[in-house]
Symmetry: none
Subunit: 187 residues, 4 copies
Amino acid sequence: LPRPFPFEVRAARELLDRRGFQRLTIEGIAERAGVGKSTIYRWWPSKAAVVMDAVLEAASARIPFPDTGTARDDLRLQIASVIELYTKSKTGRGIRTLIAESQHDPTLAESLRDRFIASRRADAATVFERGIERGELRPELDIGVAIDALYGAVYYRLLVSHAPLDAAYADTLVDQVFPAFERRRKR
Amino acid sequence: LPRPFPFEVRAARELLDRRGFQRLTIEGIAERAGVGKSTIYRWWPSKAAVVMDAVLEAASARIPFPDTGTARDDLRLQIASVIELYTKSKTGRGIRTLIAESQHDPTLAESLRDRFIASRRADAATVFERGIERGELRPELDIGVAIDALYGAVYYRLLVSHAPLDAAYADTLVDQVFPAFERRRKR
Amino acid sequence: LPRPFPFEVRAARELLDRRGFQRLTIEGIAERAGVGKSTIYRWWPSKAAVVMDAVLEAASARIPFPDTGTARDDLRLQIASVIELYTKSKTGRGIRTLIAESQHDPTLAESLRDRFIASRRADAATVFERGIERGELRPELDIGVAIDALYGAVYYRLLVSHAPLDAAYADTLVDQVFPAFERRRKR
Amino acid sequence: LPRPFPFEVRAARELLDRRGFQRLTIEGIAERAGVGKSTIYRWWPSKAAVVMDAVLEAASARIPFPDTGTARDDLRLQIASVIELYTKSKTGRGIRTLIAESQHDPTLAESLRDRFIASRRADAATVFERGIERGELRPELDIGVAIDALYGAVYYRLLVSHAPLDAAYADTLVDQVFPAFERRRKR
DNA sequence: CTATAACCGAGACGGTACGTCCGGTCTTACG
DNA sequence: CGTAAGACCGGACGTACCGTCTCGGTTATAG
C-alpha cells in the first residue's frame, strides 16, 4: 500500500532514467527523495517494487483501441501504439526491466501480471471481441492465444532485439498473422 | 575465448542450479572451481557471461525438426519440443536468466543473440522453408515474422507466465496461427 | 522526577538482567513496559538514566555497619558485605555498568555520585568516625583518603578483575592497610 | 595481530581526541584512514579494540620508578607521575574509556589487563620490592594488595571523580596509607 | 456536566551506523 | 611466469535504534 505522497516513486523514476536499473540504489532513491532508507523499506519490499510503481505510473495509461471500422486496422493501430510507446518513450526500458527482474522474483512477477499484463491483455481482448461481434473474426477464436501470437512477437523483439521493432513492424506482423483469425468468407 | 578446462563453468552451473542467479557470486564460483577470482575476471567480463557459457552448454543441443510430412505437424512437434525443454529441464530457467540479464547488458544481449537465438531461429526457419518448398506455405511468407509469432508466444508465456506453457499449448497455438501461413488452396 | 508507577524501571531491570546493557534499548524497554517511547524520553534523558533508577532501587539498601567492638572488625565486616553484594547478586554488574557509562556522560556521573557513591561513602565514614571516637584510630586520620584506599581497592578489582574479589580479600585487605589508620599505642 | 602501518590507529586517536568515544565510529575511522571498513573489521573485533591500540600506544610509556633513596618517596613520585599522566594528558580519558568499555566486553577486559594493567602493576611492584630489599618495608607485605590500596584509590578517583585527583593527592594518599607497609622499627 | 487540556499508546519519520557481502583491482608467493 | 590465494578499497545492502514528531484516544481537572 503506497503512501499518499510518493516522493520516492518520483525519485526512483528520475534516477532510473538517468542511471539505469543496475546503478539505481535504494540509498540513492532515499537520498533524492529526502527520506530515510527505512521509509522505503517500510513500504516496498525491494528496489524492483519501487521501480514497478515508477514505471507503471507512466505505463498504465490505457492503450487506445480505436474503432477504425475493421478489426485488422484496429489491431494494426493498437500494436503500432504499443510499439511506439515501448520504443519512443522510456516506458519500454522500464517494462524490459520489470520483466527482467520478475524472472528472479515471483512476487514481482505476480504483481507485474496483475497490475500491468492483465490490463494490457484486456485492452487487446476488447479489439478481438469487437471483431467477433462484427462477424469479421472467427467466433471460436481463442483470443488469449491470438494475443500471445501478436503481442508475444512484439515482446520477443523488445526483449531479444534480434530485429528492429518499429512502426512498420506492426503492419507486417498483422498482415502475416491476421488471416488466421478471419472468418472464412463464403465465396 | 574460454579456457580449455572450464572448471569454472561447471562450478557456475552447479551453483546456479542450487542457489539461483541472484545468489550466485563470482567469489562463490571461484571458490567452488578451486580458482582465484582473478582467473575468472581474466576470461569472462561478468557473472552473466559465465552463466551464459554454463547455460548454453546444455541448451545448445539442436532442437529437432523432424519431417512428419506436413509443415503443420513439423511445427507442432518442434514447438512442443521447445516447450518441453524449457519447461521440464533447468534450461528454461537458464534462458529466462540470460534474457533477463541481457536487458541491462548489451554485450551479453549480443552474445545471446549470436550464440543462441540465431541458431534457434535458423532451426525454426528450416521447417518453414521446407513447407514453402513443398508448396504448403505461401511462398511470399515472411519467415522471420512467422517465427516471431509462434516463438514469441512461447517466450512471452515463458517470461510472463500469465498462462500455462505446456504440451497442449503447442497444438492450440499452431492451430490458431498456422492457417495464416498456408498457401491458398485451389478451390 | 520519576513517575509514581515506574513500569519502565521494572522493565529495564528485567531486560538488563536478561540481555545486558549493550543490547538493552529504549524501544525494548518501552515495549516491555507497555508504554510509548516518548513516555520514556519524557522522564529520562538516556538509557543509562533509566538503568540508574533500576540499579539503584536494588543497590541502595544500606550497607550494614555493625558494631563488633573494634573498628578493624567493623571494616572487615563492612567490606565483606560490600564484596558479597557486588559479587553474588546482580548489583555488581549494575554498578559496573553505571560507572562505565558515567565515563562518557557527566550528568550521569554526577547523579551516580549524588545518589549512590555519596551515601556509600557516608556509611563507610560512620565506621571510621566511631573508631576515632573509641580512640582506636588516629584522630587526625583523613577519612576520605582512608575510604579511597579500602574501597578504591575493592572497586579496582571489581572493574579491572586482575585478581579475584572474594570474601577472603576483605580480610587480607584490611590486615594490610588498617595498621596505617591505628592510633599509635602507648608503649 | 595488527598490520605494519596502522593508519587506522592514528586515525582513531585523532578522532577520539576530537569527538570522544561515543561519537567515534568505525566508518569514521575508515574514512579518515583512507581504508575500507572491511579492513578494520579484518584486524580488529570492535571499535574499542582499535581504541585500545590507539590509547596504549601513548599510555604504554613506562611510568618512571626513580630511586630517591626511600620507598616512601619513590611511591610518592611514582603515584604523582601517574596522576600527572592521567590528569594532564589525553591518556586519562583514554584509560577511562577502555575500563568503561571493558565492563561489557570480556575480550577487551582481558586484553586491557594483559597489555596495560599488568605492566603498570609490575612497575609499581618494583618499587615495593626494592623497599623490601632495603629493609624499609615489611618482608611479608602482600605487594598486590598494597598496589590495590594505592592505585585503587587513584583509579577510584579517576573513574568516580568524587574528589579532585591532583598532585597533592599523591602525598596525602601515601602519607595516610604507607605506614601500614613499613617494617616495625626496633625501638 | 461539560470542555479543555495534559498525558498517553502507537508508531511513522529522517537519520546514522552497524556489520556483511561482494565487486573489481592489485600484490605476493608458490610450483 | 602463470596462477592460487587473498588483502585491499569501495559501496550498497538490509537491519536496528535513535530521538523527534504527529496522531487519536483516554483521563482528569476547571469552569
